[in-house]
């Protein structure tokens, strides 16, 4: 059976199928069903990748999945499933409040699966050029989602997102072209294969100067899409103005998918040039993002912007983990990707509930006492916040500890101390900010009892998965991460 094609086709069909459907409930159900199916397919892919030869290829190697791809497929499908579960009721309330028109809601249910299909294509395709246009497709499908509310601010956010994103992707395309040029054999008229697996097999013969130039372009380009500082300026705007389920997908996986593309080039550059060049650049950008994010978290007044800056910080940490380039830190970075993908959507779902109850995201206006107004939401938010700040027993505690201890063990004591400082600053920032809205005596009264359970299935799914995998990593999952670690770390 063609597993990889199935993973791509299921969401695409669901998205296009929603074009024909009129009722919101059916569209929401189609989305949930499609992503439920991709989760199952992702698990099957995981099972196949764990077994030798550790690679699944289809269509004459056009599609290729190794452990790193399988890991990304799992993250994308789980986060998309959570968002789809949340979106149905979210838009029901939005429609009731008159915040969106039915046409826009349809747009959401059509574009979201296409957005996800684009992300699946990025991680499953072998050809670096196709990977580029898949990423561009994710940007184009998500930009209309960011502009969904059609407010002046959301249009502004969408414009910045698409302009900066396209600029970044243009740079990445330059880098992709340079990479391809490095592989062209000057004497033979035959076009070389543009497959990542082929380039890796000839990495030693590629022109090193060209690969260096290419990596710089790709780093800035895909780095923009991944939201690394100082190219991050679109990120807080887009994440705060998008509808909450879209914010969850942007923050939970879209950033990581761009990072995945960057990692593929990092692996190639490392294989071609030796270890120090690309990893140093990842380290610098990663640390820069962490230090830039921390103060913005502390002074932020908009709830979803604060969460967006927190994502910036975590993406920075993942880059640092990869940049430190010891097996332990890379493993920590992969673990961190997973736990962050499970935690951040919960926070955005909770923020969405608060937004709908209070009609604002300004924490000053939301005021104290959300725990009394929306108890279920507040409990989930509190738990997710404990996780995102890195408190035990949640997974992010372990992954951060892994990265830090790996950093110290590899002899990067000063660097690891800096990372710890940035983490502490963000920890204080998020906890301080949430004490401004969760506890205390509420300013507004509870509107209806229906708000008590809203979004709980989605948040429960994410938090439950997080709790289970924080305490227990099943053997295949552990194995796939170890394989992915070896791929990034440069072992064959």
């Amino acid at each position: 059976m063609t597993l990889l094609i199935a993973i791509l086709i299921v969401p695409a069909v669901a998205g296009l199928g929603c074009l024909l459907v009129r009722t919101r409930q059916v569209m929401a159900a189609a989305n949930v069903a499609a992503f439920g199916l991709t989760v199952a397919l992702g698990v099957e892919l995981l099972r196949r990748v764990v077994a030798p030869p550790h690679v699944v290829t289809e269509c004459e190697e056009f599609f290729r999945a190794d452990a790193l791809s399988a890991w990304m497929v799992l993250l994308i499908s789980v986060v998309s499933l959570g968002s789809a579960l949340y979106a149905g009721n979210y838009f029901r309330r939005d429609l009731a409040a008159g915040a969106v028109t039915p046409g826009r809601v349809k747009e959401y249910f059509v574009l979201t699966p296409l957005f996800a299909a684009g992300m699946f294509l990025v991680v499953l395709v072998n050809n670096l050029g196709v990977m580029w246009f898949a990423l561009e497709a994710t940007a184009l499908s998500s930009v209309l989602l960011v502009a969904l509310y059609n407010r002046s601010t959301s249009l502004e956010a969408a414009w910045k997102y698409v302009m900066l994103g396209s600029l970044g992707l243009a740079l990445a395309l330059f880098g992709t072209v340079f990479t391809y040029a490095a592989a062209v054999d000057k004497t033979s008229p035959v076009l070389p294969s543009f497959n990542w697996s082929h380039l890796m097999s000839v990495a030693g013969q590629l022109d090193p100067r060209m690969i260096k130039l290419a990596f710089v372009f790709v780093l800035v380009g895909y780095g923009t899409k991944a939201g690394l500082a100082p190219m991050h300026t679109w990120l807080p705007d887009a994440h705060s103005e998008a509808p909450s389920p879209t914010s969850a997908m942007l923050s939970g996986v879209s950033l990581k998918v761009a990072l995945y593309a960057l990692l593929r080039f990092h692996i190639l550059a490392t294989a071609c040039l030796g270890t120090s060049f690309s990893r140093t650049m990842l380290l610098v950008l990663g640390l820069g993002s962490m230090f830039l994010a921390a103060p913005f978290i502390l002074v932020q007044n908009n709830l979803k912007r604060m969460l967006a800056y927190s994502s910036l910080e975590h993406i920075g940490l993942i880059c640092v983990g990869v940049g430190l380039n010891s097996p332990v830190t890379i493993f920590g970075a992969l673990l961190h990707m997973g736990y962050h993908a499970l935690t951040k959507p919960t926070l955005f779902f909770a923020a969405g509930n608060i937004h709908q109850a209070c009609h604002t995201l300004q924490m000053r206006l939301i005021g104290l006492g959300m725990a009394k107004v929306l108890p279920g939401t507040a409990v989930c938010m509190g738990l997710a916040a404990a996780s995102i700040t890195g408190l035990p027993p949640f997974g992010l505690f372990f992954s951060e500890l892994t990265i830090l201890s790996g950093g110290f063990a590899a002899g990067h004591a000063a660097l690891s101390t800096l990372v710890l400082a940035a983490l502490l600053a963000a920890f204080c920032g998020i906890l301080y900010q949430l004490t401004r809205i969760l506890p205390g005596i509420p300013r507004i009264t509870r509107t209806s009892d229906a708000t008590l359970t809203d979004g709980l299935p989605a948040m429960g799914l994410m938090l439950g998965t997080l709790a289970v995998f924080s305490l227990w990593l099943p053997a295949p999952l552990l194995q796939v991460m170890q394989q992915a670690r070896d791929i990034i770390g440069g072992k064959p």
């Binding site: 050809n127 196709v130 561009e136 497709a137 184009l140 601010t153 414009w159 002074v299």
Partner: protein
């Protein structure tokens, strides 16, 4: 292919690439939106001609596809689409750019130098024409500058498209045959969809702000 033919092809390519750069500089100093769109079409026509020359002299059929797609998409379809949009929203002239045209021209001269310096170590890798890579990088830099210098949404879209022309020029200059057809097709459709999505956004911005002046997009901070 005889050496003479190869020399001829190379000179044509160099000439056309230089033409693309000249058109780009004209766009930097030109304020009328409709003229800018025509200049973009002219630049794309030169790119298509470069691709056609390569296809002809090297007998590479798939590069004819690239030439054809560029001709249909970027010389006819996109300019037509943008023209229609400009007419529909009734704004023809760019407001005062950030830098006046003299300063812009000087700056772009600097960018050209920079582009050539960056491309210098790689001239030995170029397979066609002289300094086409330098021009490609210059198109990238001046495209970025154009984007930051102008305030109208449509000019920013045009600037993005010229950057894309630069990428395509780099692709043919460095690899002779461009990229595999599946990649070229993908890029082509992405650019078409991108411009349509941007068009939708420009239209909505125009409806909401009663302007397509991106200076108005400044509420989100911090």
């Amino acid at each position: 292919m005889t050496p003479l033919q190869s020399e001829l092809a190379s000179q044509w390519i160099t000439l056309l690439a230089a033409g693309m750069l000249v058109v780009q500089l004209l766009m930097v100093v030109q304020g009328m939106l409709l003229t800018n769109i025509r200049l973009f079409a002219l630049q794309s026509l030169m790119l298509a001609a470069i691709a056609a020359i390569i296809a002809f002299f090297h007998n590479a059929t798939h590069v004819y596809w690239v030439a054809g797609l560029t001709l249909v998409g970027k010389v006819f379809f996109l300019p037509w689409l943008l023209n229609r949009q400009v007419r529909r929203i009734q704004i023809h002239e760019e407001i005062e750019p950030l830098l006046n045209s003299t300063a812009s021209m000087l700056l772009c001269g600097g960018f050209t130098l920079l582009g050539y310096i960056v491309a210098r170590p790689f001239t030995s890798l170029e397979r066609l024409g002289n300094n086409t890579l330098g021009i490609a990088i210059t198109l990238l830099l001046t495209g970025f500058f154009l984007m930051f210098n102008r305030r109208k949404a449509i000019t920013q879209v045009l600037a993005l498209l010229t950057v894309e022309n630069g990428v395509m020029l780099a692709a043919v200059a460095l690899t002779t045959y461009g990229m595999p057809l599946v990649v070229e097709l993908g890029i082509f459709f992405d650019v078409m969809v991108a411009v349509m999505v941007l068009g939708i956004l420009v239209y909505r911005i125009r409806e909401t702000f009663a302007s397509m002046d991106v200076d108005k997009l400044s509420q989100l901070k911090g």
